[in-house]
Symmetry: C2
Subunit: 415 residues, 2 copies
Amino acid sequence: MKNLKGALMFGQSGGPTSVINSSAAGVFIEALKHPDKITRVYGAAHGVKGILDENFYDIGKEDPKELELLKYTPSSALGSVRYKLKKAADDETDYKRILEVFKKYDIRYFFYNGGNDSMDTCNKVSKYLAQNGYECNIIGVPKTIDNDLCGTDHCPGYGSAAKYVATTLMELNLDAKVYNTGLVTIVEVMGRNAGWLTAASALAAYNGLGPDLIYLPETAFSVDKFVADVKGVCEKNNNKCIAVVSEGIKTAEGKYIGEFMASATDLFGHAQLGGVCFSLAGIVKERLGVKVRPIEFSLLQRCAAHLASKTDVDEAFEAGSAAVRYAIDGETDKMVVLIRDVKDGKYHCSVELVPVEKAANSEKTVPKEWITGNGTGLSKEFIDYALPLIQGEAKAPLENGLPRFARLKKVKGGK
Amino acid sequence: MKNLKGALMFGQSGGPTSVINSSAAGVFIEALKHPDKITRVYGAAHGVKGILDENFYDIGKEDPKELELLKYTPSSALGSVRYKLKKAADDETDYKRILEVFKKYDIRYFFYNGGNDSMDTCNKVSKYLAQNGYECNIIGVPKTIDNDLCGTDHCPGYGSAAKYVATTLMELNLDAKVYNTGLVTIVEVMGRNAGWLTAASALAAYNGLGPDLIYLPETAFSVDKFVADVKGVCEKNNNKCIAVVSEGIKTAEGKYIGEFMASATDLFGHAQLGGVCFSLAGIVKERLGVKVRPIEFSLLQRCAAHLASKTDVDEAFEAGSAAVRYAIDGETDKMVVLIRDVKDGKYHCSVELVPVEKAANSEKTVPKEWITGNGTGLSKEFIDYALPLIQGEAKAPLENGLPRFARLKKVKGGK
């Protein structure tokens, strides 16, 4: 536990979410309240890449009103990066450079906001600096729509993406039933290895407008079984069926369905780019002779801040501000986690710390016992888990009928 | 001008919108206020098909609270249909049947809610009944996200879809810029022959987060020019470009680009189903060697009631209720139109009538002089036209954090 005084560096990493900037707002707004401990607040451009390139912004020069709007602005306002540090034992170059930059700017607080890989970065940098006698309190702040980080009940970013998936599924359900002719709708949701977000489509069923079939990457996927399942629903249901598949559905051997059906080409030999839902749609049309509509939620599901969950926005903000308070108190080498507490049937959430190793490079998947209906549905346990996370609304004010997102000046940070 | 007393029949037709049920709510709520003139209120299941099949619901048996929620419920609550009546001169069968059903149930008011084809239905039925001496006041209520009906300043349904397109484009713009690597995003928006909805993506630019390139079906599309345009933006813009294309882009000869690149197959010879954006993405990737992300808004853009424009919801409701008042006053064979009035720079909208022939089977496209930037942008005139239509928010209350849409009992209507 070291009480330090110096500058703060914050970076964003990995795929953005609707609320990753809410955590940034939490870190920045809290940090600027403690000039006695935190002498300067920097935001790294494109995560660790910005640190290596000495490319970061002086957050103290931003308008406080814009930092407040950051809470409701989707995507990574500072820019993100996918960059995995090598082991220091194999190649010390990046670590030496980080140490050099941290020394130059007297960085004594470092916060990194991301998923598994980002927690790995926190862990490695933390260990290296400690071994080299450089005092710096380092806290990881979790984020991911995939909800696959270990050690935390859930991840900031998941609730808003889940709310998007469930709300949109309800609307699609009404639209897909509109004609008195058959239609199979196949919706593809993000999530390579964990099906949390795809599972969120089941929340729509709670309000009576859910999909008929849900396929997670946790269960081996068979194209033949899929077609048979769709056929079964169509027979019962006037040739109408809504199926939701995870982008990460795999064969029993672990091969992604999307990959083994990829490399489609059009009449002119051009590659067709698109998700697994398009291939599945072609197969269903061919085998069952029904009209099929494939819909890929694509980036929309991770940036739809207009549909953010207030619970998620508030928790993401709190995760960022709590990280600053913990670090000021001398905590380091930890990750902020969200702890669920249900009292009298009411959901409460508090913030705690776990060793950052706990989250680094591991993935939490949907428990097998929550997957029901021969691999096509979700249990009440899942609904009880996910429903509190999508409650409430919190979004940017409107200007000209459109969201007024934060506009940062991004003044380059000097010493 | 005939003041009639009898039952009312209402039907929905064509592709649904976020606010087609707002017009239904307008018709139903207004009609139920006039039991002295309107003895019974029926809603046809699947439009004119429901009339032919004697399949309709008794709206007087619905809970008034649910009819209020209809205002905020997307898609066609009664079910829609795509059914074009033949000319009575060629085949009288359907017309005889409609007359028979109308006589049986004493239908003296008929309202049909839809686009060009639906106005054509109104027109034909109206003329036939008049020729056969059956008194019935018939009013068409416009709806279409395509905004392509003649005689009206704009169409109910357009404002909400436009708000969805503009808001989503802003969010995508932030997401697509997040990494410091290149990315071309190609977004596909609905609209076969009129580019109004695709043009709405320009509204995002008004708030600084618009697309770089916009392609409407009103301008001949060349794949080579498209690739060159994208290349030009990438060169100026760190290999980042956002292009929006209408599903209806065509060659100079009028051939749909989507059709001539269609029939894609995957490795196994299965048909790939998906829009023109996927083919264009493959071409751009191949020719420019950049990462490309195709995104098709698909059904989402027409059913996203959670993002409806209050202006649109209110106008759609008013179009429905005004239709009833006009018909009670003895008007028939007309279509409700929206008239724009700008006073002191403030937008006002009122409802009037035009002969239903005016809208039947004609399409209003985006004026050529509003298309700028060598066919890749929209003028200030377009922004001034469209911006008032996306103002305000109006949506269903939340239940469990998700929209509480209307639940109709759908009691079959007897005599």
